[in-house]
């Protein structure tokens, strides 16, 4: 191959790369458009939002004030955010407290039937949530747990525990066996091994796992709307209260939606690389 031909080939490849980069940008903008439009609508008046799509308008933050101040609904913005924060944080902490020792018993000093146990955890994810709602509702009613934060904390723990055990197990398997054996010879029990070696080394994986638990718990709607329609309810329920049967609501709904999504979206944006790694390792290895 002559030097000129090589030059042409490289130039061609660079041209292809640029074109594919442009395609990626185009795809990204199209996929992101509904989110962009939601943010734009949240800055409009109802008149500007409920007409044929408008790109230029006088932006206002009034809709954010409307949705956070309105006390007319059953559930106020402050209540919903406090409930969601308490429920999500506590259930995620319980998940980690249960899943870390369990993952230890499946990965580092495995019980003999670790495969079956792992299958059991995963298989509970196949039980449709809706199939359990009736007995759960009846049990919660009889235990006077309807409309409390406790019932959602328990259920969100159950939703996320299998995923957490699965992911943590694979992160723990990455920890060099010699380090754990050395700690054991030094007399470290389970707690000592966890605090001195396992938790520091698996911290990125634990963070990725916790983030996924937070996302699923923050976004959960079905249990919340069925079990806590009145008190102790969460942000997704609060969003739906901004849909009204009469009058225009798109701008208000958009503002409420932006507020509801911000915490998880920011966390996800910051942790995206870690999440890719977490999914890959947690899944395949």
């Amino acid at each position: 191959m002559s030097a000129a031909e090589v030059h042409v080939a490289v130039g061609e490849r660079r041209w292809v790369n640029r074109a594919l980069g442009a395609v990626a940008w185009l795809v990204g903008l199209i996929v992101f458009f509904p989110v962009f439009w939601m943010v734009l609508n949240s800055l409009k008046t109802e008149q500007d939002a409920n007409t044929s799509p408008k790109l230029f308008f006088d932006p206002t933050l009034d809709r954010y004030r409307d949705v956070t101040e309105s006390g007319g609904g059953l559930l106020s913005f402050g209540e919903a955010f406090t409930n969601s924060a308490v429920i999500v944080i506590l259930s995620t902490l319980i998940v980690l407290a249960l899943a870390i020792p369990a993952a230890y018993a499946l990965a580092i000093k495995p019980v003999t039937k670790w495969r079956d146990v792992l299958f059991f955890f995963i298989s509970t994810k196949f039980l449709p949530v809706v199939a359990s709602i009736l007995p759960v509702w009846i049990l919660a009613r009889n235990l006077e747990l309807l409309n409390t934060r406790q019932v959602l904390i328990l259920l969100y723990t159950a939703i996320n525990l299998p995923l957490a055990v699965w992911m943590l197990r694979s992160f723990f398997r990455e920890i060099p066996r010699e380090l754990i054996e050395a700690a054991e010879i030094d007399g470290a029990g389970l707690r000592g091994q966890l605090t001195s070696i396992i938790l520091p080394l698996a911290a990125p994986g634990i963070a990725a796992t916790a983030l996924l638990c937070v996302i699923f718990a923050w976004n959960e709607f079905f249990y919340a709307v069925q079990l806590n329609p009145v008190d102790g309810s969460t942000v997704p329920i609060w969003v739906t209260t901004n849909v009204t049967a009469r009058g225009d609501f798109l701008a208000k709904l958009s503002a409420a939606s932006v507020l509801a999504c911000i915490p998880v979206v920011l966390a996800g944006w910051i942790a995206q690389k870690r999440m890719i790694r977490g999914l890959a390792m947690g899944a395949i290895k």
Partner: protein, 311 residues
Amino acid sequence: MSTTNTAMDHTVIRPRALSRPLSDSWRRRLPLLPALLFMILLTQVPFVLSIYYSLTDWKVVPPGPREFVGLDNYDSLLHDHFFGEAIWTSVRLTVFPVIGSLVLGTAFALLLDRKFFGRGVVRTMLITPFLLVPVVVGLIWKNQMFHGLYGVINWGIEKLGGTPVEFVAQHPTLSIGITLVWQWTPFMMLIMLAGLQSQPSDVVEAAKVDGAGPFAIFRQLTLSHLRPYMELGILLGTIYLIQVYDQIAVITAGGPGSTNVPFFVFQRSIGGGWEFGQASAYSIVVVIASIVIATFALRVLSNLLKGEEIA
């Protein structure tokens, strides 16, 4: 040798172990038990209760004595054509979004798996739909994208000279399907991206040196490397999409032809039907169907775990 040493260390260091030594297998099991008991309590107890309820004629409205009716509920379920329709809707609302988001997610991951200006920004934009609250996704698509008068899509259709479409009213299942694909494509993309990044580059380089074109490399190397990741995406996507409730509740509220099995069971029980006995029979059937799907899916999972041996 080392195991006997450890065992001795434990008996020396822990006084409790002297009085009542735990066998090695129980010491291994102990850390597992809290999580295991928690899951058994929260998933198996409701299941057993459901089996019991499904054998009774328990109705809340009108209230009456709860009586044991054997398999009557299961018999009437066979003749309920609404249940059949719900199953068909469930199949469509699972298969179409899983395949759609897997294909798009793979394509997007391939686009992102190369260096170009602003790659981080594009990746951030592409993962955002997965991070949104599902209820918000449903409401936003319904009210700003699909809206018959002011929707962005109809605005585009009109600009191109077409006639506006009432998406949600005319194509309820398709509308829900599109929002599901939009939300789940980033999830598939993340998994495929993880797969692409774990592909050993030396193999690809060697293939290039041997004169393999980009398409041959993709077909013969990349696709086979991505296969377990695709299976994982299908597995996880199916688990979550078969249970979809949120988008249906806010987009159509189960309107014409868009009631899937979860929504159907909900409607028959605490969503207005209050036929607890009958609804329990439905949910038991759903569980059995899920177990069938799960056995198939778990076989995939066990292939993923195969070859993984504890040293």
